[in-house]
């Protein structure tokens, strides 16, 4: 592992019983980047994160975080990684102040002012009990405690889930502020594509436990093209188009998203015999949705399988 990578997995695989949830994952996160980890529920994002954090042992393969195998994490390694749990779990009986206290005692490098600042951004009363807080406020406390530990790497598991627009903005601001030095790294699993497009510079898409996309945001957009074809028949039934990510009907027309288009794919599209062929823009959302929809079409969809 070279020094510029904070996360590196090698053929990381995890089975639950007979079912492979993460398959042969080769994934790297360069230092200083903000990586959006995208995927449907059950695609293996949380399982991957749990393996990176050393909470779950890989069935085979390995993962290294900050230069150390996750299986052998020592407390000082863990304290260099900030982590928020899916759903922003906090002990419901604690007061916000007690959360800060608990964090201070369990993290070696605790930055109390950082906690104060983050909590204030989310508009939280430090005397409030966690069980009284709204979901957005809970997220605020969770993120504040994570950032106050002054980690080098932030691994956030779906931090924006169920947040109101104000909290979402506060969350994004916090992440931007965290990584502005360019030395600290964020791995962010999310379902909110707009937010990912804003804050991330790299994107990784997991489909059914496999990593299909792992590149910069611009590279991802740049290497996808889309065409709208006017034809009666489903184009996927005519013949294969190389690099076809997804094909969806738009009224009487078909929207085709192609990855890494080349002459072969262009000629394959021409040979489909469409009445009209029109290239269209690919937005970030379109691109991700094309990948994610593919999973739903090809495979049975299971929700909540990760938890």
């Amino acid at each position: 592992m070279n020094d510029s990578e904070v996360i590196r997995t090698r053929r990381l695989t995890r089975y639950f019983g007979r079912r492979a949830v993460v398959r042969e994952l080769n994934f790297a996160v360069p230092r200083g980047s903000v990586v959006g980890l995208l995927g449907l529920n059950g695609a293996g994002k949380t399982t991957t994160i749990r393996m990176l954090m050393g909470f779950l042992e890989p069935t085979r393969g390995s993962c290294e975080v900050l230069g150390r195998n996750s299986r052998n994490f020592q407390p000082e390694d863990r304290s260099r990684i900030g982590h928020t749990v899916e759903g922003h779990f906090l002990y419901p009986w604690m007061r916000v102040r007690e959360c800060e206290h608990f964090g201070r005692q369990t993290h070696p490098r605790w930055d109390g002012t950082m906690f104060e600042r983050s909590v204030r951004r989310f508009g939280i009363d430090t005397d409030a009990k966690v069980s009284w807080l709204s979901r957005g406020q809970r997220a605020g406390v969770s993120i504040a405690s994570t950032l106050a530990a002054t980690p080098e790497l932030l691994i956030l598991d779906d931090p924006a889930l169920g947040l109101d627009p104000v909290s979402r903005r506060a969350l994004n601001e916090t992440i931007i502020e965290f990584c502005e030095s360019g030395e600290r790294t964020v791995l962010l699993s999310s379902h909110l594509l707009d937010d990912v497009e804003r804050v991330a510079d790299r994107v990784a898409v997991m489909v059914d436990g496999r990593l299909l996309v792992d590149t910069t945001l611009d590279d991802f957009r740049g290497r996808l093209t889309a065409w709208v074809l006017e034809m009666a028949e489903d184009p996927t039934l005519v013949h294969d188009v190389p690099g076809l990510v997804h094909c969806r009907p738009l009224g009487s027309r078909w929207h085709l998203t192609i990855a890494n288009p080349d002459h072969e794919s262009a000629s394959a599209i021409e040979r489909l015999g469409a009445a009209a062929i029109e290239p269209v823009d690919v937005t970030f959302e379109d691109a991700v949705l094309a990948y994610l929809s593919r999973s739903r079409v090809d495979h049975s969809f299971y929700s909540g399988a990760e938890s």
Partner: protein, 129 residues
């Protein structure tokens, strides 16, 4: 001037920023020597990744629209011809081609298009003066 970004649109965010700065300079909202917010500041303001801002600034600097003065920040550069005359003509033709094809699609005739173009140029002139 105020820059806004809209995620989820057809254009990448760095492109949106670069385009808005170019437009600001063209419309005179930004003049030569005007300072621009630092990468960090703008990223914070827009809540976007600093690398995205850096990329937009980088492209504009490469095109000679902005210049970086060491230790002082980013400024609107004096117009320099970083491209050859032929290249500049090719780029202009490209842009005009797009306007023409759009105006034909929308059903405007030649005079209407020309008048419109002339009015816009006059307005720009007026704004500068």
């Amino acid at each position: 001037m105020r820059i806004r970004v809209i995620p989820g649109s057809g254009a990448a965010i760095y492109r949106q920023i670069a385009d808005q700065i170019r437009r600001g300079i063209a419309s005179g909202k930004l003049s030569i020597g005007d300072p621009l917010p630092s990468v960090r500041q703008l990223a914070k303001e827009l809540v976007i990744n600093p690398n995205t801002v850096a990329k937009a600034y980088g492209e504009l600097t490469r095109d000679g629209v902005l210049e970086t003065r060491a230790g002082r920040g980013v400024f609107v550069a004096a117009r320099r011809n970083v491209f050859s005359h032929a290249e500049r003509l090719r780029r202009l033709d490209e842009a005009i081609d797009a306007v023409i094809s759009e105006s034909i699609t929308l059903g405007f005739d030649r005079d209407q298009t020309l008048t419109r173009l002339r009015n816009k140029l006059d307005a720009l002139q007026g704004a500068k003066e």
